[in-house]
Structures are given as structure tokens and as C-alpha cells.
Amino acid sequence: MRRALWALFVLSLARAHGPDRTLTVFAAASLTEAFTELGDSLRAHDPGVVVQFNFAGSQLLALQLIEGAEADVFAAADARSMQAVADSGLVDDPIPFARNRLVVILPATNPGRIAALRDLARPGVKIVLAGDAVPAGRYARAVVANLGQSTGFPPAYEHRVLANVVSEEENVRAVVAKVRLGEADAGIVYASDVSAAAGGGVRTLVIPDAANVLATYPIAVLHRSTHQAAARAFVALVFSPAGQRVLARHELLPIAGRP
């Protein structure tokens, strides 16, 4: 038993130091399912490649990259995080590859008895958003502001909805978790976060296009990547028809026009 453990340990060391082709992709938390699937299909094409993902809030990934984290590809949920990385000279020309809509989600049991977007402003409703440094949090606040300007919504709508916020989460998936557990009455997340592939388990309220925000996702290969070819192959896969179909299956919109 002990010998087997040692063998495993030595093997893992060998893997860590060997001339392996482990591609490290830093990607926005909302891309978790779509990119995991893309990683699997890259592996299917080229069994020698191992794709390792770091899914987190784009702003945190950008900070990690700027502070020196090793990665080959960065896919962000907003231009701002990508720009911060570009400003540090780590990438050139990021290219937008997908867009994402926002939706309001409710627990399956709907404990807040929310039937329409107007109900989010009712006192006592517990709303969870991503923090305002997180792309999803910034988009969610923009959506609430847009709704407040729309006809049929009371004048203090934005203020009242924001007063109902009980937690500002560090990434969008933490918002989904709190709603799915039934602890929050509502959250605002990306459509891709609650696609059937992402597990569903929540009710959704559609935000009308006029008030919705389209998040644009840029992708780039890092200059300091030591696996340039594999990194470019992954980016090419994202833009390929097959890759775009995977994204579409996860409720992400293609970059050129709506389907």
C-alpha cells in the first residue's frame, strides 16, 4: 500500500516536471460547462493535450494573471478584465467570441413568491447579486437600472431592488448556488449559468431585450504561454462551427448577430 502511494507520488512529480502539454485556460466562471466540453473535444482530437481550467470571476483571473500566474489562454466575461491584462502587456488583440444574456433566477420553490420582475422591488425580498467588481454583478446592476427606466416600473425601482440585496458574491456561480439552495429569493445571472447543461434546478424570469445587457466575452492567448500552438488550437476550436455549436448549446450567443 505504502509502496503504491510512493509510486503515485513519484508519478505525479514526473508529470509535473516532464515536458507535458498541459494547456492552462483561465476562463470566466460562467463558461464552466461550455469550456469543459470544449476541453474534452480538444482532448479527443489530440490525446496528448491535457486542458486544465481555472474558472473564477474574470476580475480575479485578471488580477492573478497580472500578479504572475501561469496560463496559456484567458477568456473573460467583460472587456474591462481583458483590458487590464492587455494594459499589463500580457496579451494583444483579444477577440470577442460569444455573448451572454442575463436572466433573473428564483429557487424552484419560489419562497419569495415572485411572479414578475416588478416583484423584485417588494420590501423583504432577498436578492443576491455578484459584487460590483465582478462582470456579472456590474451587468446585473445595469439591468436593474434599465428596468427602472422602463415603462411600467415604479420610479424608485432601482433603489428598492438594490436595497433588497442581501449578499454580494465573489462570482456568478456563487449567486446560482445561493438561489439553488433556496436561501435567496432571487438572483441575476447569465443565461449560460442556468442552461439545462449547467444543472437547471431554478426558475427563470426573462428580462426583456430592451432592458437586458449583452455581455461580450473576449479571448486571447498569453504572450508568455509556453504552449503557443496548443493554445492557438484551443482558440481556433472556440471559433470553429463545432465550437460555436457547443457554446450555443450552453445558451451563449454567437458574436455575429443573434440566432
Binding site: G57, A133, E168, E170, L181
Partner: protein, 268 residues
């Protein structure tokens, strides 16, 4: 001679390893920035929230932990090992897992959630939930120290008190407790330190909202998302705060006792 050199080298290496991250924090922030941050409402809120919740948590830990420590130190019972392991479990449990457990237990939709809701308590996203998370993770530190302290008091002292006609309560409060006090205070100090630094269980169970559930560690993490210098400044404040209070505990009238307790624990 060689042994002594090797010992010094090992000690110096460890001390450098522990000190360097702290020093690095201080190097990256100027006193002026620090003072400026202290003026921000969101920082002051986080500071007071951290102090208040960790103090409340420590109080609860001592209040409910002391009876458990007393039983573990003085009684033999069949399930003792199981109880001891259960009490120590939060030390090894990842705090985020603890937070998920707390949500599934005391959340609105949790196992005990129905009972709590029936009496009008909804814990998640409240300051009380912050305290609950801190109590959960900090309890083991108090119980292990207090149990060791109480068990170290020889039976003959309490027996002598009993033969002299002291009631069990008198024996506990006037004989056992004073003799074990150093270890109890040391345990309380460790619990407080753990509660002050608590992050994972808090953000999972209580959420993250300035003024209500955003304690200093959460404020550091939130600041880190878009402003590294703010995160550093907050970290430095937290270090200064913890260091001052821990040092103060050592120099307090009964502080020597805290130091003495850890010395005695080391000797055991």
C-alpha cells in the same frame, strides 16, 4: 556546536518564512494610505463588525464550551472518543465545507430551517449567521485547550475541598476553575483569533454585504477583486489589530497566565 548551529538555522528559516509575508504586506503600503483607508466607512464597518462578531463568538464558545470541556476532562463515558473527534472535526473541515453544512442545517431550506423559521429566525445573510459560522470553526480550539487545562488539575485538590465540606459547585468555581484558568484563557484567545480570521464559512453561510456580514477577511477578499492596494491596506490593518490584541492579552494582569498556559501545554 554543530547541533546548536543547525537548530538556530532551522529556527531562523521558520521565523523568516512566517515573517516575510507579513513584512511584504507592510512594505507595500504607506502609513498615509493606511490612515486614509481607516477613514472609509466600508473599512470602519468591517472593522467594527469583525470586532463585535468575534467577541460575541468567543463569549458563546466559552459559555457553551466550558461544560463540554469539564465533562471531557473529568468524566469517563463510552462515547467519549466519538465526542472528542466530533468536537475536533471543524479544525480539519475546510471552512467552505463548514459553510455549506451550516446552510444545509440552519438555512431557510435546511434541516433545522423549518424550526428556526417557525420561531421567526432566518439566519442566512444576517450578522448572527456570521457569529454562528465563527462559533462553529472556533469551538475546537477552546475545548482542546480548556480540556487539557482542566484535566491537568490533580483530583486531590478538588477531593480535598470536598472532604473539607465544599459543595461540588464551590469546588468547581473556587478550586478547579482558578487552577485551570490559564489554559481556559489561552483557549479563549485562540478561539477569538480563529473567529477574527474566519472567511470561508462566513462567505458561504452568511454572504457578503458591507455593514451586515462583510467582516475584515471578507472585505480584504472583496477589495482584492479590483484594487490590490486596498486589499493590502486592509490586510495590514487586520494584522495590526490581531497583533495588538494578542500582545495585549499576554501583557494583561492575567496575561502571564496565558503565556504560562501555553508553556504548560508545551510541557505536557
Amino acid at each position: 556546536m554543530l547541533v546548536r548551529a543547525a537548530l538556530s538555522l532551522a529556527a531562523a528559516t521558520l521565523l523568516c518564512f512566517l515573517a516575510l509575508p507579513i513584512i511584504s504586506l507592510f512594505v507595500r503600503v504607506s502609513p498615509a494610505t493606511l490612515w486614509g483607508r481607516l477613514g472609509q466607512p466600508v473599512v470602519r464597518q468591517a472593522l467594527w463588525l469583525s470586532l463585535g462578531t468575534s467577541a460575541a463568538a468567543t463569549l458563546l464558545v466559552v459559555l457553551f464550551g466550558l461544560p463540554v470541556a469539564y465533562l471531557l476532562a473529568t468524566r469517563e463515558f463510552r462515547a467519549k472518543r466519538v465526542v472528542q473527534t466530533l468536537v475536533e472535526l471543524p479544525i480539519v473541515l475546510p471552512p467552505t465545507a463548514a459553510g455549506v453544512g451550516l446552510l444545509l442545517a440552519f438555512g431557510r431550506a435546511g434541516l433545522a430551517g423549518g424550526v428556526l423559521t417557525a420561531v421567526g429566525i432566518e439566519l442566512p445573510f444576517t450578522t448572527l449567521a456570521v457569529v454562528v459560522a465563527q462559533v462553529f470553526v472556533a469551538t475546537p480550539f477552546f475545548i482542546s485547550s480548556a480540556t487539557a487545562g482542566l484535566a491537568a488539575v490533580e483530583r486531590r485538590y478538588t477531593d480535598a475541598a470536598a472532604t473539607l465540606g465544599a459543595t461540588p459547585a464551590f469546588g468547581f468555581f473556587r478550586v478547579l476553575l482558578p487552577m485551570a484558568l490559564p489554559a481556559i484563557l489561552a483557549g479563549a484567545a485562540m478561539s477569538w483569533a480563529r473567529a477574527l480570521g474566519e472567511f470561508g464559512a462566513t462567505i458561504t453561510f452568511a454572504g457578503n454585504l458591507p455593514g451586515r456580514t462583510q467582516t475584515m477577511p471578507l472585505a480584504v477578499y472583496t477589495a482584492l477583486q479590483n484594487d490590490l492596494s486596498a486589499a493590502v491596506a486592509l490586510s495590514v490593518l487586520l494584522v495590526i489589530l490581531s497583533f495588538t490584541i494578542l500582545l495585549g492579552l499576554r501583557f494583561a494582569p492575567w496575561g502571564a497566565a496565558v503565556g504560562g498556559a501555553s508553556a504548560r501545554l508545551r510541557g505536557r
